[in-house]
Structure formats: structure tokens, C-alpha cells
Amino acid sequence: MNAAWHSHRYLPMTAQERDEMLRAIGVASVDELLADIPAGVRLSRPLHLPPPMADVDLLAHLRGLAERNGHADRLVCFLGGGAYDHWIPSVVWHLAGRAEFYTAYTPYQAEIMQGELQATYEYQTMLCELTGMDVANASMYDGASATGEAAVMARDLTRRNEIVVSTAVHPHYREVLRTYTRHLGMHVREVPYEDGVTSVARAREALGARTAALVIQFPNVFGCIEDGPALARVAHDAGALLITAVAEPLSLGLLAPPGHWGADIVAGEGQPLGNFLNFGGPYLGMLATRDAFVRRMPGRLVGATVDRHGRRGFVLTLQTREQHIRREKATSNICTNEALNALAAAIYMAAVGKSGLRQIAEVNARRAHYARSRLCAIPGVRAGFDAPVFNEFVLRLPVPPAEVNARLLDRGILGGLPLGLWYPELADAWLVCVTEARTRAQIDALVDAVAEVVTR
């Protein structure tokens, strides 16, 4: 007969209703409904899980776990390297957090999902404006996987199977690129950086008749601004595409965007546009390209159309590229994406607006420049590279960077990234990030602390 039924706050069904519904179905017990499950594979014991918790206990427990972390509300964060501590205007999550957006499903029924669809269309437009490209999709998983998908897209477009990637691209992005292309008959070659940027001459040597794309990051993993136009020419001279990964899209408020100097596909990470650090996710994969390539683009697209009365409306479109129709011939397997993060990015971009984006970008650059010049004035500390930077820069330290970080932590400062983790040849290098969320006083405190640590 039916087992005991425990009321639970997420379950409307009462024991009485369960029994009434079973009677209506015409069975005596839930087990009768589960008769197709072979007896030998049924679980004959309760799950070994910790006992249920009431909300008050649950939240206290989670708060305890959360407070064991060194987070950016408690520590002054100078850490970047692919994730950035930016200021998020209050409007962003007040609006993106509205239940009608937040708890919606994928807009398969367009007529009752015009809000989501229009917001995505607006996001696509803003992303095109930001990157200088013609067309953007409705989001990918993150910057790294978007870069991997861009490489596959370049193979399909060029019918070539080799990808050349700069070692000044974030190592996670390069690893994902390798993982995504490994089983598709594609080869990945690396072109080394020189003095913090991709060597144009070495890139030219590396590209050949089989190269589908050159992949660079802008600004790159060292925070340096690549010579994008020259690298685009090199790629195009070889008949290859230029894929530009953008891990810090706020930089495009100040810097000439990849679409203006020849990038064919812009893949990127949209976390800095209004999304929380979240220990690495959820983030926002951005993907934009030229009009001519749209039918090879992975991911969802929202298009404008009209209803039967001629009113403007929005729908998911060009779905014949997608897996639910094309199955194994699809351009990608992506289904669930990062729509909510794209919405937050759209609200962010609309909130800061045309002039605000430029101003925030400038503040990033100016404060980073200030921090860099002050830090470089400390005896023993020198700039890692000479190339211009946006909001991240490499320093060479006379003391191991991890040791410096440990000392900064005592003062409530989350120091930069010890680059030796990713680049063994840069064991003394420290990647520091300064955003608009860092005040001058915080920068000065960092400078004082570093001076004390390294000159001690």
C-alpha cells in the first residue's frame, strides 16, 4: 500500500489528494504506476542524504559556507585574468531578476514570450554595436566555449582544418579550443607571444593554406592591446579568418572594436557587463560575426517579423541550423544557453548607455594606468611588458607573487594573479587588474602594501 506522505513546502500534493488521484487513475498505489521498472533495478532503501532542512537552518548553513570564502565584498579585489570585478548598477538585477524574466523557459511560444524575445533582439543589436559586427547570437556558455565554437564555425566556412592560436590567449580558452576541435579532424597550432603581444611576423609564418583561422585575444591575457589590424591582414592574406576573443568587453568602450579592423568572428565573455563573479559561472558567451556567415553561426537567434495583423513581433529564427531540426547535421549542439546573463548584459549596456560605456572604459584605463605607474616606481618592481594596456597589466616582482599575495591578504587585499600558474617562464610575473570599482584610495593602499612587502 502507499507509503507515508510527508508534507513538504515545495509539494502541493497532500496524502489525501494523492490517494484520490490514484483512485481516479485506477490504481491502488504509486508502485503500480512504476510497474515498468524492473524489480532488480529498483532502489529498495531510502536515499542516503542528509536530513531535510528548514529554510532558516538552510540559509544559516549556506551563509556559513559563503563566509568561508575570500570574496570581493570582504577583500579589495585586484584579481582579473578572465573574470572582472566591475560595478553592477542596481537596476540590472532588479530588472533581470523580475520573476517574469527569471523563471521563464526558452521562448518556444513566441506570442506569450515577446518580452524575452524583444529583449534578446535588443541584446543582439547592442552586442553588434559593441563589437562592430553585423550579427550576434542570443548567447553561448562562456567566452572560452564560444571561442571553441567559433573555431568549428571557421572550419565549416573555410573548409580548412587548422587553427592557429596565439599563446597570449587565456590558457583556459586555448584548452577549450583544443577540446572542442580534437575529434573533428582539426589541428591547433600555437604562435608565441613576444613582449606581451602576438608576434605579427611569427603569426605570418605560422599561417598556411590549411589554416581556417587565427585566434587572438583583445586585450590579451596579459592585458596588452594587440595590433589587431596587422593580425587581421596576416590572417586574410593567408585566406584564413580572424577570430578575436574578448574577455573584457568593457574595453570596447574605449578601444576600436574588432569589427572595425577586420575580425571575422568575435567570441567573448560577457561577465563584465553586469554579471556577478559567481566563482566562474554562470557567465555569458558572446558570439558575433558578419552577415554573410550567419547561417553557419551556432546558437539561437531572434528575428523581427510581423503578426497576422501586421504588428511587429519577435520569434526564434533560422532554427534549421539547430539541433532539434538538423540533429547530427546541426552547426552546434548548444540548446540551453545563458539567456538571463545576456538579458543582464543588455540592461547593463542600456543603463550605462552610449556615453557611460565610454566613460567607464576610460576610468578603467586611467586608474589602471595610475596603478601601474605607481607600482612600477617601487624599487625592484618593473613593468612586465611595454605594450599599451586597458585595465590589466603584468608586473615583475622581486618577491614571489604568491608570497606578495599572502602578505596583502593580511591587509584585506586580494592581489593579482601569479602568472607562473599559467606561464612557467613568467614565475616572477603578477597580473594586476584595476577596474572602475577600485578607488584611488584602494590603489594607493595597494601601492603602499606592495612597497612594504617587496622592500622589506
Partner: protein
């Protein structure tokens, strides 16, 4: 734009308006050209909207009001598991210690986050009957790809080059797409008359060239694979692995474990099964759980425990690499953790209620629609609208659109592909009997309208903010971004 159109935010824009006060640099004023070379500086700024904060708030609030969501109403969307999302989970995920935690911090500064992941792994292993979990995949399909890469790495590690993956004809489209992205050829196997995978057909294609069978169980017809033990024997008998698409995991929590059924690897859509809001299409998270023999191939990093300390382990020479930067969609995993701690062993009731709800709804609808596979269903079931099409010229699409007029989201339609005019309904456990009855009444009324007034159904919806949209025109003349009033007018 006509007067009746809802404005785009670009159409609200007026030069000079701002919605935020951007900070001032407050550092010594160095000419910009000393910071960035003039040739690198952007000349024409991104043409983003220029609106005030009130404009912005009203625009997005009104947009939200043009949206359906689980907090607004019922989503009988088969194979999507749209359940209510507990609010305490949101409070948990927004705690600064989680939301404001940088992914590049050393492990010592992430002990709480790593403990949460480690404990979540233990819970997911217990529920799935598996041994290890990777949290890296950002969604279910991403998990499929990750799992197939591990399967491929496993075979290749043994010097075994296999080229084919078997997928049933009822499978989600992501299955064949993922197999193709992993470099496999897809072999489709039909379903039998009871809606199970055709075991004889499976036996015929299962040979040494097969790397894996990708199976959804309960399958996309809402039916439990009755011969799963035999299927596992066939698959393992030819040296292939058995992969579970965990899309329908909500049906069997605490009832039966995939690991006990013979599955070697599975992904979980934690955003479905464990209740993260779907955000209009994402984010999700697609952790992959494996039996111990596949653990060496898990992507880096894994979460390990050394006594009281937790760490990320990158030293895994056989790992398939990374499928994503950093450590996965952590924020989604916090919600899954909170959900599981709120239930504990009572989790079994989730599946029981989901199964009772689905069978109850099926019972109420059975006489009004064709039921292609008439067996007790698990947490979802598939109807067919072929009777309405043949007798009244009303398609399933029309029925779905008419339901919108009654204030419901439509069921999944035209999936699985093997059912003519398919209508796939999954009520989930968080709906009350009263909601199910009201929905059944509405759907029955639509079925009656098909006979009485088919034209009204064929031209539905009538009460939504826009009427039926021209999808053909949208695809034929793609308009994927706003280009300003002048250019928009010229392309009309």
C-alpha cells in the same frame, strides 16, 4: 513602427539622456594618448541606447509583463521539467560569499565553495548510483558532449578505435548533434510498438564499431525502458558504454538509480531536476556523473578532499581537457545544493508526485486525444492530435496556440519526432491537483472547439499581445538587429 507596436529601447533613446552616474577617474589627469595610442582608440562610439533610469525601468518592467514564466503560471512542457523554483535558493546564490567570489582565488580562499561542490558531488553520486562527478559543463547538451569525449578517451586509451554512436529515433536532437561534435557517426535505432528501444534492432547494430548507446530513461515518450537490463547487456557485450541523457531524471529520484540500471555515465540537467530558474533559456548546468573506471577522463579540475581541506585537482593526465573556463556554472550549483538539502531523503516524493500528476492528467485527457503508447507513464506522456487534424483540419500547432488564449503555456509539440502531431505534456510535481484540473478543462475545451469552431483554433491566439507571428518571413528575410529608423524603413 506602427502606433500599436511596443517600442524598442532604441526608439526610446534621446541624445544626452543617461541612466547611471558613471564614476570619475579621480587619478592624476594624464592625456588619453599617453595611455592608449590614438590609433587604437574607438572613434565612433557604440550606439547604445540613451535613456534615463525611469525610462529604463519601465521599459524592462513592461517587457517582463509581456512574458510567461513559471511564477506566472503552469508550464506543461514535456521533456523540459519546468517546476517551481524555491526563493530561498535565490537568497543562497546571491550571498556575497558566492556571488562575489572570484574564480581565480587560490583554494584557501574558496573553502566554502569547494566544500559545497564536494558535498553536492556526494549527493549526486548517491542519487545517480555513480562514483564521480564533473561540474564543468554549463548545460545538458554540454554535458552530453563532455560525456562522449570521456567515452572516446576511454576507448582510445585502450587502443580501441570506435566510430559509431547509437541513438534511438525518439531521442532529443542534442544527442545526435553531440555525437557528431565528438566525431562520431550516428546510427539511429527505431522504437518498438510499446515505445521502448527496439531491442532486436539494437542487437543488429551493436558491434565492435560502436562506442556508446545514448539513451533517455524514462524515454522521451515518458515511458520507462522495460528491457533496460537487457539493453545494458547488449551494449556492454560489444564493448560499448551506456550513456544516460538525464533530461528525465525527475521521474526516478530515489526510485531507481541509473548506475544500478547499468549506465556507465550520465549528465544531469540540474537546472531542471533541481529547480534552478531557466532564465528564458539559461543558464543551466550539466554535471556529468561517471562510474569509477571513467573517472580518470573527467575534465579538469575535479574537487578533492584532503582531511578538512578541499582543493581543485588539475593533475589528471588522462583528463579530456577543459570544456569551459573556470569551474562550471557555480551559481546554478548553489541552487541545486540548496534544493537537495531542503529535501534530503524526501526527494523520492518529488518523483512520486510527478508520476501521479502525469498519470492523473493522462487519465483526464485520454478520451479526447489519441494516445499512441497507452501504458502507465512516468512523469510525462505523449498524446497525438492526428484525430483533430484528420477530422477537423486543426493541427497540433493550432491547439497549442489556442491554449495560450486560456492563459497556459502550450505543451511541447512535434516532439518526439516519431509521434504524428505529437503533444507532449509534463506537469511536474509542483503543480496542485486544482491546477491540473483547470488545465485539463481548458485542453478539453480546445478539443471541443476543434469540432465546433475550428476556425477560431486555426487562427489562435487571439488574446495575446501579438497574434500568430510569421515565422516563415522571419527566416526568409532575417532581421536580427535594429538598424535605425532610416535603414529599417528602406528594408521594409
Amino acid at each position: 513602427m506602427t502606433q500599436r507596436d511596443f517600442p524598442l529601447i532604441f526608439e526610446l533613446s534621446r541624445p544626452g539622456r543617461v541612466a547611471v552616474a558613471a564614476p570619475e577617474a579621480d587619478v592624476p589627469d594624464v592625456p588619453l594618448e599617453q595611455i592608449v595610442e590614438p590609433s587604437l582608440v574607438r572613434r565612433d562610439p557604440a550606439d547604445l541606447p540613451e535613456v534615463s533610469e525611469p525610462d529604463l525601468v519601465r521599459h524592462y518592467t513592461r517587457l517582463s509583463q509581456r512574458n510567461y514564466a513559471i511564477d506566472v503560471g503552469f508550464y506543461p512542457l514535456g521533456s523540459c521539467t519546468m517546476k517551481y523554483n524555491p526563493k530561498v535558493n535565490e537568497d543562497a546564490a546571491r550571498l556575497p560569499g558566492f556571488a562575489r567570489l572570484h574564480p581565480n582565488v587560490p583554494d584557501d580562499l574558496a573553502q566554502g565553495a569547494l566544500q559545497l561542490l564536494w558535498e553536492l558531488e556526494q549527493m549526486l553520486c548517491e542519487i545517480s548510483g555513480m562514483d564521480r562527478v564533473t561540474f564543468q559543463p554549463a548545460a545538458g547538451a554540454h554535458g552530453e558532449l563532455t560525456a562522449l569525449m570521456m567515452i572516446r578517451a576511454y576507448h582510445e586509451d585502450r587502443g580501441d578505435r570506435r566510430t559509431r554512436v547509437i541513438v534511438p529515433d525518439s531521442a532529443h536532437g542534442t544527442n545526435p548533434a553531440s555525437a557528431a561534435m565528438c566525431g562520431y557517426t550516428v546510427v539511429t535505432v527505431p522504437s518498438d510498438r510499446r515505445g521502448n528501444i527496439d531491442v532486436d534492432a539494437l542487437r543488429q547494430v551493436a558491434d565492435a564499431s560502436v562506442a556508446a548507446l545514448m539513451l533517455t530513461n524514462p524515454n522521451t515518450l515518458g515511458l520507462f525502458e522495460e528491457r533496460i537490463v537487457e539493453v545494458a547487456e547488449i551494449v556492454h557485450g560489444c564493448g560499448a558504454l551506456l550513456y544516460l541523457d538525464g533530461a528525465n531524471f525527475n521521474a526516478v529520484l530515489g526510485v531507481t538509480r541509473p548506475g544500478d540500471q547499468g549506465f556507465d555515465v550520465m549528465h544531469m540537467n540540474v537546472h531542471k531536476t533541481f529547480s534552478t530558474p531557466h532564465g528564458g533559456g539559461g543558464p543551466g548546468a550539466g554535471p556529468v556523473a561517471v562510474k569509477a573506471f571513467l573517472a580518470p577522463y573527467l575534465p579538469v579540475p575535479t574537487v578533492e578532499r584532503d582531511g578538512d581541506r578541499f582543493r581543485l585537482d588539475y593533475a589528471r593526465p588522462k583528463a579530456i581537457g577543459r570544456v569551459r573556463a573556470f569551474h562550471g556554472n557555480f551559481g546554478v550549483l548553489v541552487r541545486a545544493y540548496a534544493y537537495l538539502r531542503a529535501y534530503g531523503p524526501l526527494l523520492r516524493q518529488v518523483s512520486e508526485a510527478a508520476v501521479v500528476n502525469a498519470n492523473y492528467l493522462l487519465t483526464r485527457l485520454r478520451e479526447y486525444f489519441d494516445v499512441p503508447y497507452d501504458r502507465p507513464c512516468m512523469h510525462e506522456f505523449v498524446l497525438s492530435g492526428r484525430r483533430q487534424k484528420a477530422q477537423h483540419g486543426v493541427r497540433t500547432l493550432d491547439i497549442a496556440k489556442r491554449l495560450l488564449d486560456y492563459g497556459y503555456h502550450a505543451p511541447t509539440i512535434y516532439f518526439p519526432l516519431i509521434v504524428d502531431e505529437a503533444i507532449m505534456i509534463e506537469p511536474a510535481e509542483t503543480e496542485s491537483r486544482q491546477t491540473l484540473d483547470a488545465f485539463a478543462d481548458a485542453l478539453i475545451q480546445v478539443a471541443e472547439e476543434c469540432a465546433r469552431d475550428p476556425e477560431t483554433v486555426r487562427t489562435a491566439p487571439h488574446r495575446t499581445v501579438v497574434a500568430r507571428l510569421d515565422e516563415v518571413a522571419a527566416a526568409r528575410h532575417p532581421n536580427l538587429r535594429w538598424r535605425g529608423p532610416v535603414r529599417a524603413a528602406s528594408t521594409r
